[in-house]
Symmetry: C2
Subunit: 138 residues, 2 copies
DNA sequence: GCAAATAGTTGCATACTGCAACTTTAATTC
DNA sequence: GAATTAAAGTTGCAGTATGCAACTATTTGC
C-alpha cells in the first residue's frame, strides 16, 4: 500500500504537469473550466462551478477573466434572469481543441512503448478508476 | 480519444480532490512537499524543488512556512555550506502518515466495489502509467 | 586568486482563493 | 398578492501563492 501512495502522488503530479504544459496562454484552472463548459450544453455558472467543485466567487472572477480574453460568453437566460449561461466562443472552442490534442499527444507519446494490449488495459483502468472516484461523496 | 481526454480531466480532478480532503491543516502543495521529503534521505532544497518541478523561490517560502509550523527542519550541510538539508520532524512524519492513511483509505473505499482482479489490474495500471509519465522530459 | 556557477533568500508585482455582504430575480407561504 | 425566503451572481476585503529579478554566500574551475 505504501507504494500505492507514491503512485498516487506521482500520478497526480504528472497529470497536472501534462495539463500545465498543454494549455498555453491559460492556467490549468481556466483550462478545466473551458473543458467543463465544453462538456455541457450552455450550462449555467452554478452548474460548472459545482461540477468542478469550485467556490462560486472564485469561479465568477475566472469567468470574468475568460470573457475578457474572449474565450467564453455569458448569456442571460430569459426564463430565469438570475442565471447566466456559459458558452465557448469560436476562439474558445479552438483552444479547447488544441489543448485536447496536446494532452492526447502527450499521453500517446508516453504510452508509445507499450503494446496495444497494455495500452488498452491502462486506458480502461484509468477510465474505470475515474468513474469510481467520481462517486465519492462530499 | 475524445473520451480519454474527459477521463484525463476527471482523474486529475478527483485525485486532487482526494488529496485536498486528506491533508487537514496543510495545503496540497505543502503535503506534496512533505511526501517528497519523506521519499528521500535528508534531501537538499534543490533536490525536492526539482523533484516537484517547483520554482525554488516559491519552494523556499513554503519551506519557511513548514518550518514555522514545525513540520520540517532545515539543517545546514557541513560539507557544503550553501546547502540546507531537509528533514521531517516527528510531527511532520506523523502528519505524512495520517495523510497517507487517509489517501489510502479513500482509494480503497472507492475501489471496494471491484473484485480483487479488477482492483489489482487498476492499481498495476496506475503504477505503470505513472512510471511512463515520469519519463516525459522537460 | 578570480571568474563563473550553485544554493538559497528577499523584493516586488500579480494572481488565486474564500468568507461575508450585497443586488437582483424567483419561489414559497400565508 | 404582498411578504418572506431562497437562489444566482458579483464585489470587498484579507490572506496566500506564484515567479521573475536581484541579492548574499559559498564553492568550483581554470
Amino acid at each position: 500500500m505504501e507504494r500505492n501512495i507514491s503512485t498516487f502522488h506521482s500520478l497526480a503530479k504528472n497529470l497536472n504537469k501534462i495539463h500545465k504544459t498543454s494549455c498555453e496562454g491559460v492556467t490549468v484552472v481556466q483550462s478545466s473550466i473551458l473543458h467543463e463548459i465544453s462538456l455541457h450544453d450552455n450550462p449555467s455558472m452554478q452548474t460548472v462551478a459545482n461540477a468542478l467543485g469550485m467556490d462560486i466567487t472564485t469561479f465568477s472572477r475566472q469567468i470574468g477573466t475568460l470573457e475578457k480574453i474572449k474565450l467564453i460568453k455569458r448569456i442571460p437566460y430569459s426564463k430565469d434572469r438570475r442565471i447566466l449561461l456559459l458558452t465557448l466562443t469560436e476562439t474558445g472552442q479552438n483552444l479547447v481543441g488544441e489543448i485536447n490534442n496536446h494532452i492526447g499527444a502527450t499521453m500517446e507519446a508516453s504510452l508509445s512503448s507499450m503494446n496495444d494490449f497494455e495500452r488498452e488495459t491502462v486506458m480502461r483502468s484509468m477510465h474505470l478508476l475515474s468513474e469510481k472516484l467520481k462517486s465519492i461523496e462530499k
